[in-house]
C-alpha cells in the first residue's frame, strides 16, 4: 500500500549514438568496479554450482567415499588417505568444501527455479491486470495487496508447515511468496506502456489480446522486471536458507547452504566453527554479489536514477 507503483511517463530523450543500446548498457554496467566484481563472483559461483560433480574433491553424498574416521577435522587437516580437507570435515567425515559447493548448487537450483516460476506467473498476472483493467485488475491487485501485507517469512512458514518438507515444496512456497512482487512491478510499467501509441496501433491492426500483451506490451516491461528478479533471487536464497535453518526447508539428504549452516549450529559453540561458518560465508558472498549486480543493473536500466 505504501508503495506507489504508478511511474510517471518517462521522457525518453532521442538517443542518436553510434553504439547499440545493449552495448551502451554493458558499458554503463562496467563503469562500476564493485558491480563487475559482483558479476565475476556470481558467474564463478554459478559455474561452480553447475559443474559441481566435476570440480569437487569428493562427492559429499556418495557414502562409499566417506569415512566417519575423518569426522570433525579442522580446516587444512589431512585424511588417512592423504587427502587435504581445506575447509575441514563435518560430523560424517564429509569434505566441507565439496559440501558447500553442492549446497550452493542446491540453493541456486531452488532460488532460480522458484524465481523463474514466480516471474512467469507474476508477469502473466500483472500484464493481464494492466491490459484489461477494471474488475480483473481490482481482483488481482486485491490479492497482491493482501499477500504483500504479510511478511514473506510467515507466509512461507505456514505453507511449509502444511505442505511438509521437500525441495519441490520449498519451491512452491517461494513461488507463492514471490509472484506478487512481479505482478505489481509488471502492472506498474505495463500501465504506462499501455498508454503509448504503438499499443493503440497494434490494437488498431486487429491483433488479438494475447498477441498484443505478450508480443508488444511484455518486452517493454522487461527492464524493471530484470532488476526486481535479480534482487528477488538473492531474497529467495536468503528465505530458503532461513526456512531450512528453521527445519522446514529442504530435506537433510539434499542440504542447501542454509541447512549446512543449521547442521553446524550445534557445533558452533563447541569450537568446530568451520561446519557452520564457511557455508555462512558462501551464503554471504552469494547474496552480496547478486545484490551488487542488481543495484548496478537498476541504475543502468532505469535512466531516471542516473545522476
Amino acid at each position: 500500500m505504501s508503495d506507489i507503483s504508478i511511474t510517471p511517463p518517462v521522457e525518453k530523450a532521442p538517443q542518436k549514438k553510434a553504439i547499440s543500446p545493449l552495448r551502451a548498457a554493458m558499458l554503463d554496467f562496467a563503469s562500476s568496479p564493485l558491480a563487475m566484481i559482483g558479476l565475476v563472483v556470481m558467474v564463478v559461483m554459478v559455474l561452480a554450482a553447475i559443474f559441481a560433480p566435476w570440480i569437487t574433491p569428493q562427492n559429499p553424498y556418495d557414502l562409499s567415499q566417506l569415512s566417519i574416521m575423518d569426522n570433525n577435522l579442522p580446516p587444512g587437516s589431512e585424511s588417512f588417505g592423504g587427502q587435504t580437507y581445506w575447509l575441514g570435515t563435518d560430523p560424517q567425515g564429509r569434505d566441507m568444501l565439496s559440501a558447500i559447493i553442492y549446497g550452493l548448487r542446491m540453493s541456486l537450483i531452488v532460488a532460480v527455479t522458484a524465481t523463474l516460476c514466480a516471474l512467469a506467473i507474476g508477469m502473466a498476472m500483472g500484464i493481464t491486470a494492466a491490459y484489461f483493467g477494471g474488475r480483473i485488475d481490482t481482483l488481482i491487485m486485491r490479492v497482491v495487496d493482501l499477500q504483500l501485507s504479510f511478511p514473506a517469512i510467515l507466509v512461507a512458514l505456514i505453507l511449509l508447515a502444511i505442505l511438509g518438507k521437500g525441495v519441490d515444496k520449498v519451491i512452491i512456497a517461494l513461488v507463492i511468496v514471490q509472484w506478487a512482487y512481479y505482478a505489481r512491478t509488471v502492472r506498474g510499467s505495463a500501465l504506462v506502456e499501455r498508454q503509448r501509441d504503438y499499443i493503440a496501433a497494434a490494437r488498431g491492426l486487429g491483433l488479438g489480446h494475447a498477441r498484443v500483451m505478450f508480443r508488444h506490451l511484455l518486452p517493454n516491461t522487461l527492464p524493471p522486471l530484470i532488476v526486481v528478479a535479480t534482487v528477488q533471487i538473492a531474497q529467495a536464497i536468503a528465505l530458503e536458507a532461513t526456512l531450512s535453518f528453521l527445519g522446514v526447508g529442504v530435506p537433510v539428504t539434499e542440504p542447501s547452504l542454509g541447512l549446512l549452516i543449521a547442521n553446524g549450529y550445534s557445533y558452533l559453540l563447541s569450537g568446530a566453527y568451520w561446519i557452520s561458518v564457511y557455508p555462512g560465508v558462501a551464503l554471504l558472498v552469494a547474496i552480496v554479489a547478486i545484490n551488487l549486480v542488481g543495484d548496478q543493473l537498476r541504475d543502468v536500466l532505469n535512466p531516471r536514477l542516473r545522476r
Binding site: L63, I68, N71, Q92, P251, S266, Y267, G271, A272
Partner: protein, 536 residues
C-alpha cells in the same frame, strides 16, 4: 584433533564466562533442563521430563533407584499372596505437604483418577490396567487383586506418584471399581496442578511457581518423611538449545545441566566441571522389515531382509566401536542385546555384536546377494543423541560392504508417521525400558504384533517367532523372579541369535555439574535435583 588455537580461544572465552558468573547461593540448586515438563500433574503425560518433575513433589508407592531396582516408597513392603493377589503395607506417619495424613484412601483415589485425566496424551492407564480390585484392610494395608498373574505390578506401581484425595475433592469414602470408582467427586483437570496450592504431595519438595517456558521453582518440603535434601530451593530452567545450556553452566547461571552435547564434554571437563554419566535403559537399534515382499525401501520383488543371513551381514557390517569413538565420543556402549547387563533378564556374558566386514560380504554372497542391494534407511534426526549422524555412519558402513544405502532423515514427527505406516524397510530408533527389565523391549519390539495380547506394539519390522513369543508370554505370567528371568534370558538370546533386530548401542545419559557437586547417573534418565549432593 581439535585445532589448538581455536581451543585456546575457547578456553579463554569460557574463563571469561566463569568470571562473570554471579554469586551462587549455597542452598539453591539451579538446573538447566533439555526439555520442559508439559504439566505438573503427575498423571498427565507419561514422559521423562514430567515424570522426573513429579518425583520431586509426589512420591510413588515404590521407588526405583538409579539402576531402576525397586526400593520402598510410600509402601514399605509388598508381597505376592498368590498369583493374582498382592498385599501392600503403607508407610505410617507420612503427611502431605499441607499436613494431612497419608492413607490407603489416597492410593485408591490416585488409581481411580488415572484413567480420568482429561485429554491425557499418554496416560498411565498402561500401568494400572492389570488392577482388578483394590481393598483397604485398614488405613495402611492395601490388598491389590489383578485380572491375571501380574509379576510386573511392583514395577508398574513405581511409575506414578500419589496425590491427595482430599485436595482433589474426593469424599471421605473412596472405593475402587474397574467400571468406575465411587466417592471420587469431579476429577481435577491437569492445569489445576500448575497451581502450587493444588500440587500437594508427599515428596521432598513443594511447588513454588511454574512459569512455562521460563522457570520452575521448588521449595523443600519440611513434612517429607525421608532424609531432608541438601537444597532449600531448586530452580529448573528449560534451556532447550544445547549450546545455550552449556554456556549457562560455564557462566554459572545454572549448576547442573542435562545432556551436554557430546562434542562439548571434553571442554566442560577441562574447565573443572563434573561430568556424571551412566548407562541408560535406552537401546538404539535398527529394525529390518521382515513382513512383506516386496518391501518399500528395496528395489525388486523380493525382500532380502527375510533371510537371517542378510540381517546378520547388516549387523556385522556396523563398526560399533567407530560409532562409539568418533560420533558418541565414548558416551555409548556397543550393544549385543536390547537392555544393558546387569538389568533384569539380560545375558551378562553376551558380548556386543562384533564388526566383521569380511564375514558380512560372505554372508551376503551366501544369501544370493554377492553384489548387495539398494536400501533406504529411515531415521529421525532430532530425537536420540546424534541419531541422524549415526544413521549416516551406518549407511556408510553398509555401503562399504556392498549394500547401497540411502538415508531418509526426518524430524521425529514426520519419521513416526512414515514408520507407523510401514514405509521403511529399515529404520533406526531407540527404546527405553520404562520398567527396567527385558520384557519391555522384547514385548514391544520383537514379539509378534498382537493388539489383543498387547504385544509387538512397536514391532514395525514385523518379525515373528513363536519361540520368542511363547517364552515371553510365559514370563509375563510368572511371578517367581528367578524363573521369569530365565525365560526372558532365553527369549532374548533367541532374538539376538536370529538377528530379529539389530542393536547398535546403549546410550549413556550424561549430566554436567558445577565443581564440587555429585549426581549418580540414572538409567531412567531422570534429573532429580534432590539426589544432587555436595562433595565433601
Amino acid at each position: 584433533m581439535p585445532n589448538t588455537s581455536s581451543r585456546a580461544f575457547l578456553m579463554s572465552a569460557s574463563a571469561a564466562l566463569a568470571l562473570t558468573a554471579g554469586a551462587v547461593s549455597a542452598d539453591t540448586l539451579r538446573i538447566g533442563l533439555a526439555s520442559e515438563p508439559t504439566s505438573v500433574d503427575p498423571h498427565y503425560h507419561n514422559l521423562g521430563p514430567n515424570n522426573a518433575l513429579a518425583r520431586h513433589i509426589f512420591t510413588p508407592l515404590i521407588e526405583q533407584d538409579a539402576q531402576q531396582l525397586l526400593n520402598p516408597g510410600l509402601a514399605t513392603e509388598w508381597e505376592a499372596v498368590d498369583d493374582t493377589t498382592w498385599r501392600l503395607t503403607l508407610r505410617e506417619g507420612v503427611t502431605f505437604s499441607n499436613g494431612a495424613p497419608f492413607t490407603a484412601r489416597d492410593v485408591i483415589y490416585t488409581i481411580c483418577r488415572i484413567p480420568l485425566v482429561p485429554d491425557a496424551p499418554s496416560p498411565f492407564t498402561l500401568y494400572t490396567r492389570a488392577i482388578a480390585g483394590l481393598e483397604a484392610e485398614d488405613d495402611h494395608t492395601l490388598i491389590v487383586t489383578t485380572d491375571g498373574p501380574a509379576p510386573l505390578l511392583p514395577n508398574q506401581l513405581a511409575t506414578f506418584g500419589i496425590i491427595s484425595a482430599s485436595v482433589s475433592g474426593a469424599e471421605d469414602e473412596v472405593s475402587f471399581d474397574t467400571d468406575g470408582c465411587t466417592g471420587i467427586g469431579d476429577a481435577p483437570a491437569s492445569a489445576e496442578f500448575n497451581d502450587p496450592a493444588f500440587a500437594i504431595g508427599t515428596g521432598p519438595y513443594t511447588l513454588d511457581a511454574y512459569i512455562r517456558g521460563e522457570e520452575l521453582r521448588l521449595t523443600r518440603n519440611d513434612n517429607y518423611y525421608g532424609d531432608a535434601p541438601a537444597w532449600e530451593q531448586i530452580v529448573m530452567r528449560p534451556l532447550t538449545n544445547a549450546g545455550a545450556r552449556v554456556a549457562a553452566l560455564l557462566a554459572g547461571d545454572v549448576q547442573m545441566i542435562e545432556n551436554p552435547p557430546t562434542q562439548d564434554i571434553a571442554r566442560i571437563e577441562g574447565d573443572g566441571f563434573v561430568i556424571s554419566s551412566g548407562l541408560s535403559n535406552r537401546v538404539i537399534y535398527i529394525a529390518l522389515d521382515q513382513g512383506d515382499a516386496p518391501t518399500p525401501g528395496i528395489a525388486g520383488d523380493t525382500n532380502p531382509l527375510q533371510d537371517a543371513r542378510v540381517r546378520e551381514a547388516l549387523a556385522l557390517a556396523i563398526d560399533r566401536e567407530a560409532i562409539q569413538q568418533r560420533l558418541m565420543l565414548g558416551l555409548s556402549e556397543p550393544a549385543g542385546e536390547l537392555l544393558p547387563a546387569p538389568m533384569f533378564g539380560t545375558n551378562p556374558d553376551r558380548p556386543a555384536i562384533p564388526y566383521d566386514a569380511e564375514r558380512a560380504r560372505e554372508l551376503l554372497a551366501d544369501a544370493g546377494y554377492p553384489d548387495g542391494f539398494q536400501i533406504v534407511l529411515g531415521t529421525p534426526n532430532d530425537r536420540y543423541i546424534n541419531d541422524g549422524a549415526i544413521s549416516q555412519a551406518v549407511a556408510q558402513m553398509w555401503t562399504q560392504v556392498g549394500v547401497q544405502t540411502e538415508v531418509d532423515a526426518k524430524t521425529f514427527s514426520a519419521f513416526i508417521a512414515d514408520r507407523n505406516g510401514f514405509n521403511f524397510s529399515a529404520f533406526l530408533a531407540g527404546w527405553g525400558a520404562g520398567t527396567g527389565e527385558m520384557s519391555s523391549p522384547l514385548g514391544a519390539l520383537v514379539a509378534t504384533r498382537d493388539p489383543d495380547r498387547s504385544l509387538g506394539g512397536t514391532n514395525f519390522a514385523r518379525h515373528s517367532n513363536p519361540d520368542i513369543d511363547d517364552r515371553l508370554v510365559e514370563a509375563l505370567q510368572t511371578v517367581d523372579d528367578a524363573e521369569r528371568e530365565r525365560l526372558l534370558r532365553e527369549a532374548s538370546a533367541i532374538a539376538m541369535d536370529t538377528f530379529a533386530i539389530v542393536p547398535i548401542h546403549y546410550e549413556l545419559t550424561t549430566w554436567a555439574l558445577a565443581p564440587g557437586l555429585e549426581y549418580e547417573a540414572r538409567a531412567d534418565q531422570y534429573t532429580l535435583g534432590f539426589a544432587v549432593t555436595q562433595a565433601d
